[in-house]
């Protein structure tokens, strides 16, 4: 593989960080302020996109920012896996920014400058995680993301958000300091390096006990992946304004968690070693457990966002499960699911937010008949649900298909059943919402027939992401190609 | 060195220390502490440490005791009897003292015997000082030459320590505005006795003359800047004790006193700095021969030592006065004790 020194990954990270300054300075002029967000978003997306052809040609882009310790640097590298993730998050940032404008102005929220600033910082850290060339850099951006999202999660500054913020930090910061940091140090002590390697930099060492402990520490340590029992922060964090939940808890934050686990499995341990030590199964069972339980809990939730949250927990474990299968098909299924789920889930969150802006309703039981009032939103909701469930013609079908193939390839029949069962459960907790929204008698309906959608700034983004979800069914090539390149298939 | 005397004095010292700690009346404790210090002087003279003894006489038995008495007069004279609630502290103190004692005894068993001429302490560095003091500095009193030249840097900071103490006492105690909620009563008439006043008035000039002698003759005999400075300060304190504080302040006001204190240490450090300006290391007096008329580098060291000793004396005098004035008047600069 060819390696090139290139500053573009750093620029891609910095652009939104630098944008904070003009955002803060133009806090008195909202239109200009949001203009900066868009400019930064578009520059960021173009920078990321501009690297796609190079990466597809098999070039690896590297850039060392600073040598912070002897033998340990803040170093960025663009490989197919990271690029795919960066592509997803940077494109969705633009969409989410548009949606944020509609949502925040629609609700006349306070402290919008702070909101947009931290949003930009959070995006920088997400891209940073995607482009990290070593564990230390990844940890750095991971922590930065945790902290940057705290003000977003607690945006309302009331007692509920205070409590949720506390829970959020307790889980996220607690596990990263309590598990990842020592695990990282022990790895460093064992291997003398933290650079991600194709076969994992720990592959030389073979003590099974140590490896098991380390793997478990890493998997739980990246609690943003919300593997049970470290999932509690995710539903709590739903107090945040919906765009935050949408981007951060469907795309950036949670996907950073699973992406990190992916990186750990491929770059730190190496699939070969995990396979020979049979450690993949351990993680796979943890994930399977989370999938089933989360889906069951989701069924019982009435708050729409809470239901989505538990659905997310389950879906994240799909990705972890894919990684833990250690088979090429399963892993590429997991990787692609990062993208597919992102578009599907963000649509769902956007819809939830749009419903809230338009009707101030949060609970599913209050949404009977809402399809007549907000048809566009609810059709988008349907598409999003289908993608998350894994039904054609949406992108989610592909990733789930690969996951299923992966379980067969890995001879994990139990996991196959887990996947199928959970798909049924997914259908069971999503489809009734849509059904009730459209098909109900006039008495049951809680809304009058007049069409009254949320502001266009809300509706346009969610339609767009829904359409992308469908498009990904027909054109999944880019993501599939990247995933296969990443896994060397 | 007669070890029998040594033994006897030491035993007395222990007795004094014990009673100073135990006695209930604080004034007696302070006086016993003075006696403790005087016995120490005796002991040290007997061991050949005349300079230390001189200093202890002036400081430990002299001004320290006065400071303590002044403080006692300003606070309360007797210890309140109290047995309850102190058991914990007594236990801690006893435990700490016992452990320290045992550790020290353990280490002591390895010491070379007392007064052994071949012990490392007597054979490693000190022979150099004893044999070179005349040729290096032309100062026969080895203590003076080591104090102000070989280890002159220590002594500069020693002076700085006393200066620091003076400033610290002023900083903590000085009351610039009258504080009406003052606890200690200050309005009782100071004790006055014509006999004491007359005698001390006659003595002050002689004391001061003696102090100057001690400073100037430090090269050849016990004493030096520090002892001389304390004695000078003590002469003012005597005035303060026999008359009242205002008569001291008339002679040595607050401002001049502070300036003297600064000037003294500044003189010391300044002489060192002049050495740098002349191209040598800090406090390397030998280079002063370039600016002092008709001196070679050895005599320059001798003169340098005299210079810093004068600085020390000025600083110490001023600071001793400052501490006494502040303690005895509670920082108010009124009539004092």
């Amino acid at each position: 593989m060819e390696t090139k020194i290139c500053i573009r990954p750093l620029l891609a990270i910095l652009v939104s960080l630098i944008a904070v300054a003009p955002i803060v300075l133009s806090s008195k002029r909202p239109n200009l302020r949001e203009g900066w967000t868009f400019i930064a978003g578009i520059i960021k997306f173009s920078l990321v996109a501009s690297m796609v052809p190079l990466v597809l040609d098999g070039v690896r882009l590297e850039y060392t920012v600073a040598q912070v310790l002897p033998g340990m640097a803040i170093k960025l590298a663009v490989d197919p896996m990271g690029l795919m993730f960066a592509l997803v998050s940077s494109s969705l940032w633009i969409v989410t920014s548009a949606y944020s404008i509609g949502y925040m102005r629609g609700l006349d929220e306070h402290s919008q400058t702070r909101y947009f600033s931290f949003f930009a910082i959070a995006l920088s850290s997400t891209i940073g995680v995607a482009f990290s060339a070593n564990l230390f850099t990844m940890y750095l951006f991971y922590e930065m993301l945790s902290l940057a999202t705290y003000p977003l999660v607690t945006h309302h500054q009331d007692d509920e958000s205070r409590y949720s913020g506390r829970k959020y930090l307790a889980f996220i910061l607690g596990t990263s300091i309590g598990f990842v940091l020592p695990a990282m140090l022990i790895s460093y002590n064992l291997a003398g390096t933290l650079e991600f390697a194709n076969n994992g930099f720990l592959s030389g060492t073979t003590s099974k006990t140590v490896m098991t402990v380390l793997l478990i520490m890493f998997v739980f340590g990246f609690a943003k992946a919300a593997i049970m029992p470290f999932h509690g922060w995710l539903p709590a964090a739903m107090v945040a304004p919906t765009p935050v939940s949408a981007l951060l808890h469907a795309v950036a934050v949670v996907k950073v968690g699973v992406f990190s686990i992916f990186r750990i499995i491929t770059g730190v341990f190496g699939t070969d070693m995990l396979r020979s030590l049979e450690l993949g199964t351990v993680v796979a069972y943890l994930a399977a457990f989370t999938i089933i339980i989360a889906s069951l809990i989701a069924l019982s939730q009435d708050g729409l966002k809470r239901r989505l949250a538990f659905s997310t927990i389950g879906q994240l474990s799909y990705i972890v499960l894919g990684a833990a299968l250690l088979s090429p098909k399963g892993m590429s299924g997991g990787l692609v699911h990062i993208a597919m789920h992102a578009f599907g889930k963000i649509t769902l969150f956007f819809c939830a937010g749009a419903i809230y802006v338009a009707t101030r309703k949060k609970n599913i039981s209050d949404m009977v008949g809402i399809g007549k009032r907000m048809p566009v939103t609810m059709i988008a909701f349907l598409i999003g649900s289908m993608s998350v469930i894994g039904l054609p013609p949406t992108g989610g079908f592909f990733s789930k298909w690969y996951l299923v193939l992966g379980t067969i390839e890995a001879d994990q029949i139990v996991m196959l059943f887990v996947l199928l069962t959970s798909s049924l459960l997914n259908a069971a907790y999503f489809l009734p919402i849509v059904y009730k929204a459209f098909f109900c008698t006039a008495e049951e309906s809680m809304f009058d027939d007049k069409v009254a959608e949320a502001p266009v700034w809300c509706v346009a983004p969610l339609s767009l992401t829904a359409l992308v979800s469908i498009a990904l069914f027909f054109y999944p090539t880019l993501f599939m190609r990247l995933a296969e390149m990443a896994l060397g298939v | 060195m007669i070890w029998q005397i040594d033994l006897m004095v030491l035993t007395l010292i222990v007795f004094c220390a014990f009673s100073a700690v135990m006695v209930k009346d604080l004034l007696s404790a302070a006086i016993i502490f003075g006696a403790y210090s005087f016995l120490m002087c005796l002991l040290w003279t007997e061991m050949g440490a005349v300079d230390v003894a001189f200093t202890e006489a002036a400081v430990g038995a002299g001004v320290s005791t006065i400071f303590m008495i002044a403080a006692i007069f300003r606070t309360s004279r007797s210890v309140k009897h109290r047995s309850r609630g102190r058991r914990f502290y007594k236990l801690i103190g006893f435990f700490a003292a016992a452990v320290t004692g045992m550790v020290l005894l353990y280490g002591q068993s390895d010491f070379p015997g007392w007064a052994d001429p071949n012990s490392p302490a007597s054979s490693h560095l000190s022979p150099y000082f004893i044999t070179h003091t005349i040729s290096d500095t032309a100062v026969p009193n080895i203590v003076t030459s080591v104090l102000a030249d070989y280890r002159g840097f220590d002594t500069m900071f020693e002076t700085a320590v006393i200066f620091t103490a003076g400033i610290a006492v002023i900083f903590v105690l000085r009351q610039y505005r009258r504080d009406q909620t003052d606890v200690a009563g200050t309005d009782e008439v100071a004790y006055q006795s014509p006999i004491i006043q007359t005698v001390s008035r006659q003595m002050v000039p002689f004391i001061q003359l003696f102090a100057l002698y001690v400073v100037a003759h430090g090269h050849h005999s016990p004493g030096g800047g520090f002892q001389g400075g304390v004695i000078l300060g003590a002469s003012f304190i005597l005035v303060g004790l026999s008359y009242d504080l205002r008569s001291v302040l008339k002679k040595m006001g607050e401002g001049p006193n502070i300036i003297f204190g600064n000037l003294g240490v500044f003189l010391y450090a300044g002489i060192g700095a002049v050495c740098i300006l002349l191209g040598a290391n800090f406090l390397d007096y030998s280079v002063l021969s370039r600016i002092l008329p008709a001196t070679d580098s050895v005599m320059a060291r001798s003169h340098g030592i005299l210079g810093v000793e004068i600085g020390v004396a000025i600083a110490v005098m001023a600071i001793m006065i400052a501490i006494y004035v502040n303690i005895s008047s509670h920082g108010k600069y009124d009539k004092g004790l």
């Binding site: 205070r162 | 390895d110 700085a160 030998s286």
Partner: protein
């Protein structure tokens, strides 16, 4: 005019001389004290930085005071270790001095010149302690630093006097133990020069008296640095001290004591004696574990912000002592790095506490309510300091923790590693508690939902400027950790560990 060879002594002499100048000129014109002290500390800072560069270029420097050769005279030895500490001291004291302007004016209007005289004498003492190569000279300077800090603390509020008195007692015990230890060394070797002692001691390393000397010196220094069972005097003394004193004393005193411990362990007794002959490091590491956990837990129970910080100092001392006694190069590197890093972090947080006190007349947690709205700049800097204490990269706190934990893994001291992790977690709880109070709770007198605009009421520039310099340096120093370690600290770690 003055050659760079003289810089080592000037580092100490310039502040000493300026103490007198400040005192005399201040007697006539109070207003001159502040510019004078800032000026002299700038010069000192410049001198110590250029000394550090000299050392980095050409190795250790020896300076003979009075021109006498060691061991007869007093010698200054500046190697990589103390050159670094000198820069830390002069930098921190400069920042503290710049900061002190408004708070001294407000809290001690009567005694500004005396305050600044003591202030700079304290700096002199700390610099002298760091630079000297003579065991007895060190004692004298310890006492200068101690006497000044007694007085500087005594004039604080509430129970400052009583805590200062306790400090006098404990400080004197500590210094006297040190003096006794030096006496034991002297009786056994006849020497006071550190280099000379280092060359004599191996021959008599089996002696009981040397062991007692070591014990006395270490316990003395531990008392001074408030190592865990001996920490009782510190929290009260640092909590009630005047603002400017806290800002100067809290970051420096314990750190310089840790430096002294390292200096004596390796430059007087030798690493071989300390780690191989004595073989006590397990016990001491466990004491450090107790210090870290105990300090952190006690900090957790506090409701006063500054008091909380003082307990954290106790915990941080445990970091450094434990790191040194891990007896491997990663641990010692971490400990030395932490001297620098912790000085900066503590300074940052005490500056914030000082600003809060200046603006609200208190530093109880209640006084912090709503400050994120009222003083966003101060609180932003506070957040950086807090993150550094927690150990979030790329702030400095992460890197020293990194080395300390690596050292713990190397030495197989899992307890110490766990203590470091737990203390990070406790710090996270602690600081987010403060952040929550500042961020969520409305200010006094604003019992509505708090969503209206609060006018920003920030501290004066002379307070914010040093705060921001420090907060930025928390990150910049973090990023340059690598060059600090390879150019400076790597040379300071004893060879052969």
């Amino acid at each position: 005019m003055i050659s760079p060879e003289q810089y080592p002594v000037l580092i100490v002499v310039i502040p000493l001389l300026s103490a007198f100048i400040i005192n005399v000129i201040g007697w006539f014109r109070k207003g001159f004290s502040y510019p004078l002290i800032v000026l002299s500390l700038i010069i000192t800072f410049y001198l110590s930085v250029s000394t550090l560069l000299q050392v980095v270029d050409g190795g250790a420097i020896s300076y003979r005071l009075g021109g006498w050769p060691p061991p007869f005279g007093i010698e200054y030895v500046i190697d990589h270790l103390n050159a670094l500490v000198l820069v830390v001291i002069s930098f921190v004291s400069l920042a503290a001095a710049v900061f002190s302007k408004e708070s001294v004016k407000k809290e001690l209007p009567d005694r500004i010149p005396q305050y600044y005289t003591l202030f700079i004498l304290l700096v002199t003492g700390l610099l002298g302690m760091t630079i000297t190569g003579d065991a007895f000279n060190l004692y004298v300077l310890i006492e200068i630093a101690a006497l000044t800090s007694y007085a500087l603390i005594a004039f604080g509020r509430d129970r400052a006097l009583v805590s200062s008195f306790n400090y006098v007692i404990m400080g004197t015990v500590g210094a006297s133990f040190y003096l006794l230890g030096v006496g034991h060394l002297y009786i056994m070797t006849g020497s006071l020069n550190m280099g000379d002692l280092l060359s004599i001691l191996p021959a008599i390393s089996g002696s009981r008296a040397i062991f007692v000397a070591f014990l006395l010196i270490i316990v003395g220094i531990w008392t001074k640095m408030a190592f865990f069972p001996l920490h009782g005097w510190l929290p009260n003394a640092y909590t009630y001290a005047p603002t400017a004193t806290g800002v100067l004393v809290a970051p420096l005193m314990t750190k310089v004591s840790v430096y002294i411990m390292i200096r004596l362990m390796f430059s007087v007794f030798s690493a071989d004696y300390v780690f191989n002959t004595l073989n006590v490091h397990d016990i001491i590491v466990w004491m450090a574990v107790a210090a870290i956990i105990g300090g952190s837990l006690l900090a957790l129970t506090q409701t006063d912000f500054r008091r909380m910080l003082t307990y954290l100092i106790v915990a941080e001392v445990g970091y450094m002592v434990g790191g040194v006694w891990l007896a491997n190069s990663a641990g010692i590197t971490g400990a030395i790095l932490h001297i620098l890093n912790d000085a900066l972090m503590t300074l940052c947080l005490f500056l914030v506490a000082g600003i809060i006190y200046h603006k609200t007349r208190g530093h109880h947690l209640d006084d912090i309510r709503g400050l994120y709205r009222k003083m966003p700049f101060t609180m932003a800097a506070f957040t950086v300091g807090a993150l550094s204490m927690i150990g979030v990269p790329p702030t400095v706190g992460f890197f020293s923790k990194w080395y300390l934990i690596l050292g713990a893994i190397d030495a197989g001291q899992w307890g110490f590693m766990a203590a470091l992790i737990i203390s990070s977690l406790i710090n996270a709880v602690l600081f987010f508690k403060v952040i929550e109070v500042g961020y969520f709770e409305p200010m006094h007198g604003h019992h509505d939902d708090g969503h209206h605009e609060v006018t920003i009421d920030e501290a004066p520039f002379s307070m914010l400027a040093p705060l921001y310099v420090i907060a930025v340096s928390l990150i910049v120093v973090g990023i340059y950790t690598s060059s600090i370690i390879t150019n400076i600290i790597a040379h300071a770690v004893p060879k052969g560990l």
